[in-house]
Amino acid sequence: MTMTTTIAPEEASRPMRIGTLIQKYSTLAVLIILFLAFAIGTDRFFTGTNLVNILQQISMLTIVAVGLTFGFAAKEMDLSVGYVVGLAGLLAPLLMVAGVPIPVSIIGALVAGLAVGLINSALVVGVGVPSLIATLAAGSILWGINFMISGGRAIYGGIPADYLAVGQGKVAGILPYPALIMLVIVGGSWFVMERTTFGRYLYAVGGNARAAELSGIKVRSYRVYGLALSSLFAAISGIILSARLGSGQPNGGETYLLDGLAAVFIGMTMLRPGTATVMGTFFGALLIGIMNNGLNLVGMDTYVQSIVKGIIIVIAVSVVSRTTKLKLL
């Protein structure tokens, strides 16, 4: 990732105050309008069961997107997350089917995810390959590996019920475990990013790597952390996915990349415009979740949902690029 140097660095972009205000809250307004529209337009939307359902539906996406947020904070983009979801979602069932105890299987899948992140960061930080390209290539390799280890078939049968509960159980019969795990991860990540020196340094590295380095921050390490966490979170999401589906799917996580990026981009329009934040990302995922859910209830086809989602991404990224200098490569 390179920094662009302008002729007069002193005059860095200073978005207009009112513009910033509108921008900061326009996404939130869209979220609320969508919510109200569906609540009024359909009678099945604004019910306790459906709202819990939305949380459940967005949980895996949110976890992936929060992982991406760590990468984005350090100005690294991880395009391999979708396949890491697939990898972890296959590995855990495969290990369990082979008789490995549940905790060990889960840890194995997490370690595999983390390993992918470390390989990515070795390429990006060690060799100097731009993260966009390194992780694109890693994604391609992982796609192949996922089909290789699964033989191209879904893995099911012999997965212990205790494992399935991770994806299908509920706390007190109300809150699904995936939603709970998501809320814990969102809360924890928010705390780390907003309230610890770790988060501050990660943002510093993404904000101006040279300034961070000259302030004594371990720039290279934080770039590694960003990429490693994004893979690790994708692996967590993969485990929940396979537990929820009751099987490991070779192409299970592919949609999470695009939706995850969408959530991050939408989030970048709010709170601190131009910066990926945990809460922004959570709202982004919530927006996507409400939209998918609502459009479903209205009876809109999935391909229409995809079109609507694409349009929203374009709008979100346009808003961010217009007012701040969005530098991704």
Binding site: M3, T5, I7, A8, P9, E10, E11, A12, S13, R14, R195, T196, T197, F198, R200, A204, G207, N208, R210, A211, A212, E213, L214, S215, G216, I217, K218, R272, G274, T275, T324
Partner: protein, 511 residues
């Protein structure tokens, strides 16, 4: 055809880059423009070549007012620029680069490759008859000198009437410099107006018919040099002198008070034969409480040397002891841990995060000190209190601690850059290295920054200040090391400070 700039002013937010500059560039003559970094040369070139629009003032060609809205407009009006850094497309051939944007076509839209090659060769034969360049090879495979020739040929392809050369010889080997000089003479003999911007003063004197000297965005002098009668010394005087008469005394006034240093003051920096790619320092000792000023012309190595005291990896050989401990090739982090701090130049690129607030920027280097260990939970209250304390103590003008750093003036940004190393770290840092401490800082705030530098020394730190502002150095430094051609050349004690002595040391004139 001549081109006349009248009262050209360019205002960037916070800095006046050009202030009412008038220049006449005449056909058949070579016009040199000299000045230190920040004098306004680059802005002037950008305005001439259409990359930047002046805030005020007019351009006219052959008596007709013109406005170059973009570089293409300048080219079509006959003004071509050979810019300082490479502007070639690396994976195109030399010939393709020369014709870029003006490719001869056949069948209406196909590039006539043979014609491209022919035109390029013809141009090369016309202007560089003695240089053989493989115009059919990709330019990134060619030596740097050949690339420069191709850049010049590309500028000449549009048959310009005015050719601007921005630091054309900066990276050329001696032999290629010679052929470039010959070319410049040929061009002006052929009736072209040539503008030459260069740091190599002797080159300017040898080539130019007239020389304009810029300083702090103003034209301080225009010299006729028809018989090459201008001297290097004369130019340096004009470039560095703060202008008005009586300045000699002002400089001396500042030098009257001498600080006394305790005999047992600790040696913080101890250097022997310390060298890197672009600097060489024979030996230097800086003790706690002492301020050493580094001066030199641009490119003479004093900034690189100063930077290497915080980034020892920039050095390739030599010994550097920090508080009696060998530094070796320590990292920035190690240096920070031992107690070294750097307040870099180009602060928005090297020191600040533009999107961040005053508080976040200020706590960047010291936030761990106000955080709860071991996981480093930021204590917002303590961070805020420490920020407010420093805003008050350094008299930083900001509407609040949560104001974005970009909204502050240059001087206040610079204070934040200094405050960074005092954030919950008062007394921790034993060495402060300043690079161009008052770059883009207005006069009032300059004074405060100088007081700040002195107060750091008075509280026991060793301070090194590298600056191209001699008056500034005279104000703050206890002694001065002058660099020439990448080496430390002279040491000057405070009692000997005077503008003349500084300039002699920089120019290498012995009295």
């Amino acid at each position: 055809m001549s081109i006349v700039l009248e009262n050209i002013t360019k205002q960037w937010p916070g800095t006046l880059a050009l202030d009412g500059v008038s220049i006449e560039i005449v056909e058949g003559r070579v016009h040199g423009i000299v000045g230190e970094n920040g004098a306004g040369k680059t802005t002037l070139v950008s305005i001439l070549s259409g990359a930047v629009q002046p805030t005020a003032g007019t351009l006219s060609m052959a008596g007709q007012p013109v406005a170059f809205e973009n570089p293409a407009a300048a080219v079509s009006n006959g003004v071509s620029l050979v810019s300082q850094e490479g502007s070639l497309v690396p994976h195109l051939t030399g010939a393709e680069n020369i014709c870029l944007g003006f490719e001869p076509v056949k069948s209406r839209f196909l590039i006539n490759r043979r014609e491209v090659q022919r035109q390029a060769e013809e141009l090369a034969k016309q202007w560089f008859p003695e240089t053989a360049i493989a115009l059919n090879r990709k330019v990134d495979e060619l030596p740097y000198a050949d690339q420069k020739v191709i850049e010049i040929l590309r500028a000449l392809h549009s048959r310009p009437k005015v050719l601007i050369l921005d630091e054309p010889t900066a990276t050329l080997p001696a032999k290629e410099k010679q052929s470039l000089w010959t070319l410049i003479r040929q061009l002006s003999d052929a009736g072209m107006a040539v503008v030459l911007i260069s740091h190599f003063l002797q080159e300017v004197i040898d080539l130019c018919d007239e020389i304009t000297v810029l300083q702090d965005g103003r034209k301080v002098s225009h010299l006729s040099n028809a018989n090459h009668e201008v001297t290097e010394r004369q130019l340096i005087d004009l470039m560095l002198n703060r202008g008005q008469a009586g300045n000699q005394h002002r400089l001396l006034d500042g030098a009257l008070t001498e600080r006394t240093l305790a005999d047992d003051a600790e040696v913080v920096v101890d250097i022997k034969g310390w060298q890197g790619e672009r600097f060489h320092m024979d030996g230097l000792e800086v003790r706690s409480g002492e301020i050493v000023g580094l001066i030199g012309l641009t490119g003479s190595g004093h900034f690189e040397f100063a930077q290497s005291l915080f980034e020892p990896r920039l050095a390739t050989a030599g010994r550097y002891r920090f508080k009696s401990k060998d530094v070796g090739r320590a990292s920035v982090r190690d240096m920070k841990r031992c107690g070294a701090a750097l307040i870099p130049d180009h602060r928005m690129i090297n020191a600040m995060i533009g999107d961040w607030t005053v508080r976040e920027n200020m706590s960047m280097a010291g936030i761990q000190e106000t955080s709860l260990k071991p996981i480093g939970i930021v204590q917002a209250g303590r961070e805020r209190a420490e920020t407010l304390r420093l805003i008050k103590r350094l008299n930083i003008k900001t509407s609040s601690a949560e104001t974005k750093i970009v909204e502050l003036s240059g001087g206040n940004k610079q204070k934040v850059s200094v405050a960074k190393w005092q954030f919950a770290s008062e007394g921790k840092y034993k060495l402060f290295v300043f690079l161009e401490p008052t770059e883009g800082v207005d006069v009032g705030a300059k004074r405060e920054i100088h007081d700040l530098i002195v107060s750091l020394a008075e509280r026991g730190a060793a301070v090194i200040v590298a600056s191209s502002d001699l008056l500034e150095i005279a104000h703050v430094a206890d002694r001065v090391v002058a660099f020439r051609n990448g080496r430390d050349a002279d040491q000057i004690a405070r009692r000997d400070f005077s503008e003349a002595v500084f300039i002699n040391a920089i120019a290498g004139v012995t009295q």
